[in-house]
């Protein structure tokens, strides 16, 4: 009997091996912990090995980016002058109203060193980690807005869960209407914002910023621009499409917003 069974297994070993591996894979899938790095030293090795390639990728884009940044610098320096006036005025008004001053945001620059192995871009590795004060859930932004949050931290590298990950949600607010909703990725740099009240006035071109209702994202960080609004009679809420300005697949530099207390 046992011999027969062994012969059967030997004969059909490819089926048995396949079933075994499928079971193991499912166990791994259902036990995968998104909050932990699988093997931190592997992540360190990959980010170390990838850094020269990341720098190589940077070269063709550097000149173009430089020109664009120069233009932005001029625009921003003009804006800064106006904002300085507003700041003085704001401080005075806040004092008059006895408002608490909001905490300032501290950012550290980071370079993208790895964009994972899978076919869709859902996460990336950046070259900053807990040594520089990065901690889990820190928002990751570019000049065009939020692109994700830190999902796992190593000493010298961190994994960013990108906004393109279908599991990523973010509470947003539309400006100037101040309507709120929950944003999630749909396709091709377009996100859907749901749970938006039907009576709210939202137009194409409105700015979308973080609502500040969660502990993760500070209030007022740019997320994107409204590209279309669906107001279906059969639905109780509006669905708003938001265009993310940043091209995720070509990001090289990002900023991680850190809590000052977490700097080691």
């Amino acid at each position: 009997m046992l011999v027969k069974l062994l012969v059967l297994i030997q004969k059909n070993r490819h089926h048995f091996t396949f079933i075994l591996f499928v079971i193991i894979s499912f166990i791994l899938i259902y036990n995968s912990d998104s909050n932990k790095l699988k093997l931190p030293f592997l992540n360190n090795i990959t980010s170390y090995l990838s850094s020269p390639f990341a720098r190589f990728n940077l070269l063709p884009k550097a000149a173009q980016e430089n020109e664009m940044l120069r233009e932005r610098l001029i625009v921003l320096s003009l804006e800064k002058e106006t904002l300085l006036d507003y700041e003085v005025e704001n401080v005075k008004l806040r004092e008059m109203l006895n408002f608490k001053r909001e905490s300032e945001i501290k950012m550290i620059p980071a370079t993208v060193v790895n964009m994972g192995l899978t076919s869709n871009l859902l996460s990336m590795t950046v070259d900053v980690g807990s040594e520089l004060g990065v901690s889990k859930n820190n928002p990751v932004i570019t000049p065009y807005g939020i692109i994700g949050k830190i999902s796992a931290v190593n000493s010298n590298s961190s994994i960013v869960q990108l906004i393109s990950d279908p599991g990523f949600r973010i509470g947003v607010r539309f400006l100037p209407s101040n309507a709120t909703g929950i944003l999630r990725w749909r396709i091709n740099n377009i996100c859907d914002v749901r749970e938006v009240y039907k009576n709210s006035t939202i137009s194409v071109g409105d700015r979308v910023v973080t609502s500040g209702l969660s502990d993760i994202f500070p209030k007022g960080l740019l997320v994107g621009i409204v590209s279309s609004v669906t107001d279906d009679r059969s639905q109780f809420q509006k669905i708003v499409s938001v265009k993310i300005e940043e091209s995720l697949s070509s990001i090289i530099h990002v900023f991680v917003i850190i809590n000052e207390n977490s700097i080691q």
Partner: protein, 155 residues
């Protein structure tokens, strides 16, 4: 076998360091799935499953993605089903042989997309289909190019 060992390392390095260079709108080719298919067609289901699972495990260790067992699952399926095509190119009509490869890859990308985009699967099936096809077809186009240079039949 040694040849495939070297090719597997090359495929790994290409996947880690160069797949992003070929990225189109966030979709990247999967060199490893092509490698596993070639391996399975050459060595059969048993070795194909072993190779697929091992490649998947190593890839998911290096990957920054969130679902750990997905790559081993997909590559095991490719290894297992691809193995049934071993020596079949002598018997099968070329169209059916290539179509089988197509089905294996596109089927595996369906599983991949289902796990990653199950929200879309249940809420916006059209977008899900679009995501599935664009992800799968990109790798299939690459497979077609590789097939043109090194046909699966000649491995």
């Amino acid at each position: 076998m040694k040849k495939y060992g070297v090719i597997s390392i090359i495929a790994f390095l290409m996947q880690i360091f160069f797949s992003n260079l070929f990225s189109i709108r966030g979709v990247r080719p999967d060199f490893l799935i092509i490698f596993v298919l070639y391996f399975a067609v050459n060595f059969g289901s048993f070795k194909g499953v072993l190779a697929g699972f091992s490649v998947g495990i190593v890839a998911s260790l290096f990957d920054s993605g969130m679902i750990t067992g997905l790559l081993p699952l997909i590559y095991s399926i490719v290894g297992y089903s691809g193995g049934f095509l071993k020596s079949q190119h002598y018997k099968m009509i070329p169209f059916y042989f290539n179509f089988s490869c197509f089905l294996i890859i596109i089927g595996c990308f369906f599983i991949y997309s289902y796990f990653n985009y199950n929200y879309l699967f249940y809420n916006d099936f059209k977008i899900f289909l679009l995501t599935w096809f664009k992800t799968g077809l990109y790798t299939l186009s690459l497979l077609a190019i590789v097939q043109f240079i090194v046909p699966l039949r000649n491995t």
